[in-house]
Each structure stands twice: as structure tokens, then as C-alpha cells.
């Protein structure tokens, strides 16, 4: 019955399509993989041998009305997606009304409050993340510079047997923000700009635990402020989450906090930003037993640069520790002006970035009011930005880019990572702190109006101790690492791209683990790819071996399995 109604509904819109003012937009994405078994790199072939994910999003707007739907199919799902994803059907649908003052959406919606540390629902398809809300979303702007947003609904957990599956928990809340530059033009003429807001989110969960009393409603609240004076700016947000026992925190009853501050200066040719963040016990999910990337109500942005270079991005990516961390970052962007001696004819861009993260201090003694024997299950105390000496992550990187002339562009980049693999586990081979250097050289040559070549050379070298210890005797001897800061050893990546504007690209990439301490693991991960672009559509074909690893976009990461085979992707938007 539902499907018939939907067809009628879509039919009605298409019929309206003949009329003035109706706009239809959307996109299609389809990914097909044929997979080979490859025991050397641990790539598995599913029973079906081939896998296919499809998405088609269609949005209709007519005057102030809007509606849309997304079809999804997993036949079966790509490797790396949760196994519960299956079938074909509708995974997202909404209808609403939108004016300058009011946005009203019923059904599925994505929304974010402030920096997202209290609430963010979003889709990151490449990572298999979609915590879309299903309910009611209002955005109300009674006067310019003042906005109130409310959310009320359930959160997407899965797409199973062709149907959307929401978690039974309910998420509701509101957010208000006043921007004084636009609010009755209070600061319209001033160099000083000020905006501030507050958020509240509450979840209702039907949770039971054999041993502990579980709260059914958990609240979280906080405020934020944005200031600007001439070329200086400052943004800050502070969120408190009330007791929320969960698998993530070991069913403790501590409150959690998230604090975020950045200050910066920006002018033509120069940008400087300093960041600080303090997180404690801020995992916040609609189901206290949820794990991995499931059912997150909030989003804790990692204070690191989003690296895109093959080795830096895939081997040692850092994700926020929602259980607790104190992190700092500094980012400097500078352009040596063009037509100068050092800057050259076109100028030279420099970016220096430093990011670091530590474990917070946790006071567990009686003098801090903690009694582990009492029934409160408040098991430690910690303060804002109270960091210990225990390092989680440190990343220093510098990038220089220069356009030499109309034909040549060159870039060089250096990274140094210290990566605590015991906390943020990215490798099964490493123990303790991994230290590595990475160098990247990037050269681009424009042959003529349409043809260009780009080449990248990358090297990664780990250093530090690796102590192999043997135990047992005779045929029962087994070896294991007590410390292995060298992890998989040294790597080399070579990338060559040939582009024919505006329709074609071809590329080969070889990622070679030439320095692996284990000789049989010195594997070439060789990939060839080609693409055809026609307007807003693209078909790409990729063949080769991809290593297992962590795939990250914007600081959110997911483990992807090793694959060996053919991938064909088609995307279009209309």
C-alpha cells in the first residue's frame, strides 16, 4: 500500500513537471566490484563474487514545497559495509515547506547544531556512515540574524531487506543562535562582530542492564560564541553531557564534557589559526550498546589536518578519542607574493601544520572526592584541558607549492608522525608508539591546452625500536613483539596521471612495502584506473590490489578490507 501511495505521489510530481516552476534535481551513484581471492594480501572473494551498491536521489521543489526520496540497493553490499545492509528500496524520503522565515521538513533530514559536538546527523557514503534522522525538523528565522532549530525523531541504524531501519531511541532538542551583525543591524557598521547560541539535546532510550540502573532520558546542553574584530577571530563552544552509561565508557555515571576554542588572524596572503580541544566521556549514542560508527548523536571533530596523500592518509590517520583527549593544533597559511625574488612570477604557497593530542588526567583518589566503593559509579574526576604526558598523536607537516610557469607546477611536502597505536589502533603489526617520516614530491606538466601529466613520488620511513622476543623451545617457539615502533617498515608510492581535458583521465599507482621486516610481505599494491567524464556524469574503472587499512574522510575513519579486483563506478547529477 505504501509503495502504491509513493508511486502516485511521484507520479503527481512528474505530472506537475509539465508546469512552470517545478524543479527536479538529484544524483545517481552506482559502484560495482568483481573480487578475486588473494591470500597474499588477505583479500576475500564473497560467495556472490560480485557486489553492487546503488543510490538514486531525487529532489522535487515546486514554489515553496519540497519533497524527495533516495533509492538504495545493496546486491550484496560492498566489502567494508556492515553485514546488515541488504536489499533494494527507499532509504530516505522527506516532504516539507520552505520560506525565508521557515523551513519545515517531515521524514528524513540531516542537521547539525554548532560544531556538531552535541548533535550532528550526516551522510558519509564512502565510509558507510548515515545517521539520518527520521521525524520533524524546523528551522525558524523570525527576524534576520536570529535562528531557532528543532529536531525530533529517530536515527537511522541500518538498511535491511530493502527497508530503512531506525533505532527505537528518540532524539529531540533545539538550538538558538543570534548573530548581532544581522540582528536589527546592531553591529552592521562595527568592525567588531559577535554571535552566540545555545543547544539542548535529549535522548530517550529503552535500555536495560543486568547490573546497573540505566537512565532512560539523557540530556546534553551547551553554548557557543563567535567573535571577530577586524582581522582577528575567535570561536568557542562548550558542551556538557549528563550521565550516560554505555559500552564506550564502561557503564560509568560520570558526566562528560567537550570544549573547543580557536583563535586566528587572517589577511590577504596570510592565515594563522590556533586550536584547542578538551574532550572527556563524550561518546553519545541513541543505543548505549552501539559500537563502531553506529548511532552517534554527536560528532567530535579531530584536530588534525585531513591528509590526502596516499601514504600519509591511509597508513596512520588519527581519529578523535571520544572517551577523552586534550588536543592542540596550529595551522599557518602563507603565500610569498608573486613577482618577488623568492615568490617567483606566480607566488609560492606555504602551509605549516602542527597537531598533537594527549590523554587527559583522571583523578581517582579520595582527596578528589572519588570513592570507588560507593554506588555512584562516578569513577574519576578530570578538569578542562587537564592533560597528562601520555601522548596519543603528534603530527608536524610542511607543504610548499609553486607555479613555475604556465606549464610547470611543483610541490613538496614533509610529514613527521608519532602515533600511539595502543590507543588509536591502526595496525595489528605495531606495538606502542610508531614514529615515521614521509616525503612527497608532486610535479605537474601541462603539455598543451588539453593534455597534462602529473607525477607523485612518496616515501615513508619508520624508525625506532622493534624488539622481537621468542618464547618456548623447539617446535613450540613463538615470536612476538614487545615494542614495534617500526610497524610494517618502509613504503614507496609512485603515481602517474595522464589527463585529457575535459573528458578523460588515466592513472597508475604502485604502493610498495619494500621495507617490511617480513620478506614475504614486501608486496606491490598496483592499481590502474581510467575515467570518462561527460558533463556532470562520470564513469571510472579501476583494477588492482588495494591494501586493507583505514579509510578516512574529514577525520572520521573506517576500516576497509583488502581487495583485489575490478571496480566500476558511475555517478551523475541532474
Amino acid at each position: 500500500m505504501k509503495k502504491i501511495l509513493l508511486t502516485l505521489f511521484l507520479g503527481a510530481f512528474v505530472a506537475f513537471g509539465q508546469q512552470e516552476g517545478l524543479s527536479v534535481t538529484g544524483n545517481v551513484e552506482s559502484t560495482f566490484q568483481y573480487l578475486n581471492e588473494d591470500t597474499l594480501i588477505g583479500a576475500k572473494q564473497p560467495a556472490e563474487k560480485a557486489v553492487l551498491n546503488n543510490y538514486a536521489l531525487v529532489n522535487f521543489t515546486y514554489k515553496n514545497f519540497k519533497a524527495g526520496t533516495r533509492f538504495e540497493s545493496y546486491l550484496p553490499h560492498l566489502l567494508g559495509y556492515p553485514d546488515r545492509y541488504s536489499g533494494s528500496g527507499i532509504g530516505y524520503r522527506y516532504a516539507g515547506y520552505s520560506t525565508e522565515q521557515l523551513d519545515f521538513t517531515v521524514g528524513n533530514f540531516y542537521e547539525q547544531f554548532g560544531n556538531g559536538m552535541i548533535f550532528r546527523s550526516y551522510e558519509q557514503r564512502q565510509l558507510g556512515i548515515d545517521n539520518c534522522m527520521d521525524g520533524l525538523n524546523l528551522r525558524f528565522r523570525p527576524v534576520p540574524g536570529f535562528e531557532i532549530k528543532t529536531v525530533y525523531g529517530r536515527m537511522r541504524y541500518s538498511f535491511t531487506n530493502g527497508g530503512l531501519v531506525n533505532d527505537p531511541g528518540i532524539v529531540r532538542g533545539f538550538d538558538g543562535y543570534i548573530d548581532l551583525a544581522n540582528f536589527y543591524n546592531l553591529l552592521a557598521e562595527s568592525k567588531f562582530k559577535l554571535g552566540f547560541g545555545g543547544s539542548f539535546i535529549s535522548k530517550y532510550q529503552k535500555a536495560n542492564h543486568a547490573q546497573y540502573y540505566m537512565p532512560q532520558n539523557v540530556g546534553s546542553y551547551g553554548g557557543r560564541i563567535d567573535m571577530k574584530y577586524s582581522k582577528f577571530f575567535m570561536n568557542a563552544e562548550y558542551i556538557i553531557k549528563e550521565n550516560d552509561p554505555s559500552v564506550d565508557n564502561g557503564f560509568i555515571y560520570n558526566n562528560g564534557h567537550a570544549a573547543y576554542v580557536n583563535v586566528g588572524y587572517t589577511q590577504k596572503g596570510l592565515g594563522v589559526i590556533l586550536y584547542a580541544k578538551s574532550i572527556d566521556n563524550m561518546s553519545f549514542r541513541t543505543d548505549p550498546n552501539a559500537i563502531l560508527t553506529d548511532l552517534n548523536i554527536n560528532f567530535n571533530p579531530a584536530l588534525t589536518k585531513s591528509h590526502t596523500e596516499n601514504l600519509a592518509a591511509t597508513l596512520y590517520p588519527y581519529a578523535t578519542q571520544p572517551v577523552g583527549e586534550v588536543a592542540f593544533q596550529a595551522d599557518v597559511f602563507y603565500k610569498i607574493p608573486k613577482e618577488t625574488k623568492i615568490g617567483g612570477k606566480y607566488g609560492t604557497e606555504i602551509n605549516v601544520n602542527f597537531a598533537t593530542s594527549y590523554r587527559p588526567v583522571r583523578h581517582v583518589s579520595e582527596q578528589h572526592g572519588i570513592d570507588l566503593a560507593d554506588s555512584s559509579r562516578v569513577v574519576y574526576k578530570t578538569g578542562l584541558f587537564e592533560k597528562s604526558d601520555s601522548l596519543y598523536y603528534r603530527d608536524i607537516n610542511i607543504e610548499i607549492k609553486r607555479t613555475l610557469n604556465k606549464k610547470w607546477k611543483v610541490g613538496a611536502k614533509y610529514f613527521h608522525f608519532n602515533f600511539n597505536n595502543n590507543v588509536n589502533v591502526v595496525s595489528k603489526d605495531a606495538h606502542g608508539m610508531i614514529a615515521c617520516h614521509i616525503g612527497v614530491i608532486d610535479v605537474q606538466y601541462k603539455i598543451n591546452k588539453k593534455h597534462s601529466i602529473r607525477m607523485e613520488l612518496q616515501g615513508l620511513w619508520t624508525n625506532g625500536d622493534s624488539s622481537l622476543v621468542s618464547r618456548g623451545s623447539g617446535s613450540n617457539t613463538s615470536s612476538y613483539y614487545v615494542v614495534n615502533q617500526r610497524d610494517k617498515g618502509d613504503w614507496f608510492t609512485f603515481l602517474l596521471e595522464y589527463n585529457i581535458s575535459p573528458k578523460f583521465y588515466f592513472a597508475v599507482m604502485d604502493q610498495y612495502n619494500y621495507g617490511n621486516p617480513v620478506e614475504s610481505k614486501r608486496v606491490h599494491y598496483l592499481i590502474g584506473t581510467a575515467g570518462y567524464i561527460f558533463g556532470s556524469s562520470r564513469i571510472s574503472v579501476l583494477y588492482g590490489k588495494q591494501r586493507e587499512g583505514i579509510f578516512c574522510i574529514g577525520g572520521v575513519c573506517r576500516t576497509v578490507p583488502a581487495t583485489n579486483g575490478l571496480t566500476i563506478t558511475f555517478t551523475t547529477s541532474f
Binding site: A56, G87, Y110, R141, G264, I273, S536, F570, T572, S573
Partner: protein, 171 residues
């Protein structure tokens, strides 16, 4: 249940082979109305953007996206000439999420881009326009019709874009 498959598959086939996926989109299609903000925090209704009857380029990008920055840097070298010859205005729409959204202004200023910058951290405008990946560039004629779109950037694409800009310029 099985019938339900047929629908998306047919849709894909239709879009793959329909002429509308060619570079030039049939006229009459306009920007959907979405309420977002510009880099200074001023409210923007995307449907109401105008440029005194001159063309507008809308380029979706992110601070972490290398080809996006290559596209915007490449156009920046020619932007004075483009503006003088055709009156075109480029609006760069950042899809950076909260992890990197605060770096947008320093990145833009350091690069010295003279573009209008819009912020789309929640992806509302991106979804409404059906953008899959960045970089994705749209061209609007003087009446606001979307006349060209391209989802990629390699060197030379800026010249194809500029050919289209000149076609719709009334200057």
C-alpha cells in the same frame, strides 16, 4: 519486491543514455532555494543570487580537496581578465564540515582568491543540487538558468568552462 530493483536500475539506464547528461543542460533549470550563509555569516538564499544579468560560476570545493584548490587557483590567475571580458562572478561553495570549516577563511585569504564564498557545512545546498563529489562546477547564464555543469577538474578544464562563459555572456 523484485520489481523494486527495476526502478533504480531503469533510472540509472535512463540517465546514462539520455541526452540531458551531455555537458549542456536544457535551459530553464534554476538553482533550488536553500538558506545557507556566506563566509562572513550573512544569510544567503541560493535561488536569489544575481550578477546584474552577467553569468555566474558556482564551484563546489573543500579545503582538503586538491583538485578543487587547483581549479580555484588556476581560475584565479585569469579571473581579472574573465571578469573584464564577460562580467562573470565565481561563487565558491565550501562543503567543509566542522573539522575544517574554520580554516576556510584563512585558506581563501592566503590564496588571495577574490571569489564570493558560501558555506554549506550541513550539505543542504550540495544535496539540493545533486552534487556527488567535489569539485563540481555549474555555470548560470544571466537569467539564472544552469547551462553547463562539470564534475572533475584537470588542467585545461578551465578553458572549456570559459568558452561556455563567453557563449552566455551578454557583454
Amino acid at each position: 519486491m523484485k520489481k523494486l530493483f527495476i526502478l533504480p536500475l531503469t533510472a540509472i539506464a535512463l540517465f546514462a543514455f539520455s541526452p540531458s547528461t551531455n555537458d549542456v543542460i536544457e535551459p530553464g533549470k534554476k538553482l533550488p532555494a536553500v538558506n545557507i550563509k556566506d563566509m562572513a555569516g550573512n544569510p544567503i538564499n541560493t535561488a536569489e543570487v544575481t550578477n546584474d544579468g552577467n553569468p555566474i560560476v558556482i564551484s563546489f570545493w573543500a579545503t582538503w580537496c586538491k583538485p578543487c584548490k587547483l581549479e580555484l587557483n588556476t581560475i584565479a590567475e585569469e579571473y581579472d581578465v574573465w571578469q573584464e571580458e564577460t562580467g562573470v562572478k565565481l561563487i565558491a561553495v565550501s562543503v567543509d564540515d566542522q573539522k575544517t570549516t574554520n580554516t576556510v577563511e584563512p585558506v581563501v585569504n592566503a590564496a588571495g582568491w577574490e571569489y564570493d564564498i558560501w558555506m554549506d557545512p550541513n550539505g543542504d545546498f550540495k544535496r539540493a543540487l545533486g552534487v556527488n563529489f567535489v569539485p563540481h562546477t555549474f555555470l548560470l547564464d544571466g537569467e539564472g538558468n544552469i547551462v553547463y555543469s562539470h564534475n572533475n577538474f584537470v588542467p585545461g578544464d578551465e578553458e572549456v568552462l570559459y568558452e561556455h562563459v563567453k557563449e552566455v555572456s551578454v557583454k
